[in-house]
């Protein structure tokens, strides 16, 4: 029998519980709000002998990711977690991990990058890593976080992929929210994730290899192309894995979560926990006769451009809500969406929005206003701000 159990837990603790069940070989981690609970909880498991993992307590996030990469290319199954400037501190190692094809599974609990110091949620920590070569999965709730950890382990280690994975969740909003999560039994998880069969582990002294030698211009480009191939294989491999996990959980998560989107006239494209509010508003608007719909981007890397293009085709209006800015350019999600829609024979009107920076909430009234804007054909070429305190230019005051 599957022996599942439903427990009150949070996004962080669900991640940690999945880690316990996966029982990775090595975890090297450094704590930072709001992902602290992940390494802390896992260290508890280690101290209490509930896992066989080697826990390496390091002095910084840079050391954490470096230790993870070393362990991973040695053949170990490796996991870790971080947020905000901790992730930023790891930045220079991320492309190395990806090029080494190190299948690390990383709990990225989204928190705004300083300065100023802010502990709350936005996507400014994960978005700068979108070019790193890592897979990025954004989870809406704790259940999805738990399921995604299991999928990520298999996805990262698959021979056709061999790419490290960020499993992202919104800091505090998801990581610290207690809600019911259905957990699989230890046996089920063990069965699903199996054992890692590393291809070229450093610890295989009979077949010694070196990782990361100097490479001249004659091969660098080709090596990057092999990474691109791994990433290109993700959609196919992920489809198989999510079907397989569904046999245990009864849940499947498509790369693009389309909510009442097929026959919609107006769409909001959004990621992570803010989607909940948008879905509630979609339902309310539908009851009022408005054909509203929502697209939640779950995989930001690789970006589901084809699916998004198909679903956005022919829509009367699309709004994209970004939870991070690319100062001086187009915000990350908007840039991907616009790029995906570029090939449409008929242009779909699109409005970019920035919201939620530093943890500012998205409320139902905000989503309603976004839909109204689309319905009233009210567009601007530049991105608009949701909930920003602004001087009222017309009336000379707030």
């Amino acid at each position: 029998m599957l022996n599942k159990r439903k427990e009150m837990t949070s996004g962080n603790l669900a991640f940690a519980e999945a880690m316990r069940q996966v029982n990775p070989d090595v975890v090297a981690a450094y704590p930072i709000t709001p992902s602290t609970e992940i390494p802390v909880k896992f260290a508890e498991f280690v101290a209490n002998g509930l896992v066989d993992s080697e826990y390496v307590a390091v002095e910084s996030e840079h050391s954490a990711i470096t230790a993870c990469v070393g362990a991973s290319v040695s053949g170990a199954r490796v996991m870790t977690a971080s947020s905000a400037n901790g992730v930023a501190l790891m930045h220079e190692i991320f492309p190395i991990a990806a090029a080494f094809r190190a299948p690390i599974v990383f709990g990225l609990v989204n928190r705004s990058l300083g300065a100023p110091v802010n502990i709350h949620c936005d996507h400014s920590d994960s978005m700068p890593e979108r070019d790193s070569g890592w897979i990025q999965i954004y989870c809406e709730d704790a259940q999805e976080v738990y399921d995604s950890v299991l999928l990520a382990v298999r996805l990262a280690e698959h021979d056709d992929v061999l790419t490290p994975v960020f499993v992202c969740q919104d800091g505090f909003i998801t990581s610290h929210c207690y809600e019911p999560v259905e957990l699989l039994s230890d046996e089920s998880v063990k069965k699903f994730v199996g054992e890692r069969k590393a291809k070229y582990p450093l610890l295989d002294v009979d077949n010694p290899v070196s990782y990361g030698s100097f490479t001249m211009s004659e091969y660098y480009f080709e090596i990057k192309r092999t990474q691109i191939e791994g990433m290109n294989n993700v959609p196919r491999v992920y489809k198989e894995l999510t079907k397989e996990l569904a046999e245990y959980t009864g849940r499947e998560y498509p790369a693009l979560d389309a909510y009442r989107a097929e026959d919609a006239e107006y769409l909001i494209v959004v990621m992570s926990s803010a989607t909940g509010v948008v879905k509630d508003v979609v339902d309310e608007m539908r009851e009022r006769g408005v054909k509203a719909g929502c697209l939640r981007v779950r995989f930001f890397r690789p970006f589901p451009a084809e699916e998004l293009k198909k679903l956005a085709d022919g829509k009367k209006g699309v709004a994209v809500l970004d939870r991070s800015a690319s100062i001086g350019g187009t915000a990350p999600l908007a840039a991907e969406v616009k790029s995906a829609l570029y090939g449409l024979s008929e242009r779909v009107p699109l409005q970019e929005y920035l919201f939620g920076l530093g943890g500012r909430d998205l409320y139902p009234r905000d989503a309603e206003k976004v839909f109204s804007g689309l319905m009233e054909n009210d567009y601007s070429d530049t991105a608009r701000y949701i909930g920003l305190l602004e001087k009222d230019e017309e009336n000379g005051g707030n």
Binding site: F100, R101, K199, P208, Y211, S213, E222, I223, R225, T226
Partner: protein, 114 residues
């Protein structure tokens, strides 16, 4: 080792196969060559210890018997540390006319590597 002609053929994950260093004749980088005077050598092994390229040859009795010219890069550390001045550094160009013996041999390192 043949060079890859397309991205599909590059070794995965930036790896270099084991002992592939044996194929790289770093001796070609030399501009100064160490010459050992075996009469002066007392086999103190200071040069062997300090050589960054493991290029001081020793025999079964553990005595210094030469310098591996396949790998030696001519850094001169051996000459510096020798307490009896048994090693002297000379212009590599002085040896261009020297007959090479069937090319140099990287040596019996990493025999266990398949």
């Amino acid at each position: 080792m043949s060079k890859p002609k397309c991205w599909q053929d590059v070794p995965p994950a930036t790896i270099a196969w084991g002992a592939s260093a044996l194929d790289v004749e770093t001796g070609l980088w030399r501009s100064m060559r160490p010459v050992l005077d075996e009469n002066k050598c007392i086999s103190c092994l200071k040069c062997w210890l300090q050589c960054p390229d493991s290029s001081i040859k020793t025999n079964e009795e553990g005595r210094v018997c030469g310098i591996n010219m396949f790998f030696c890069k001519g850094c001169g550390v051996c000459a510096q540390v020798c307490p009896v001045n048994a090693i002297s550094m000379h212009q590599e160009a002085d040896f261009t006319n020297e007959k090479r013996e069937h090319g140099e041999d990287p040596g019996k390192v990493a025999d266990h590597v398949k």
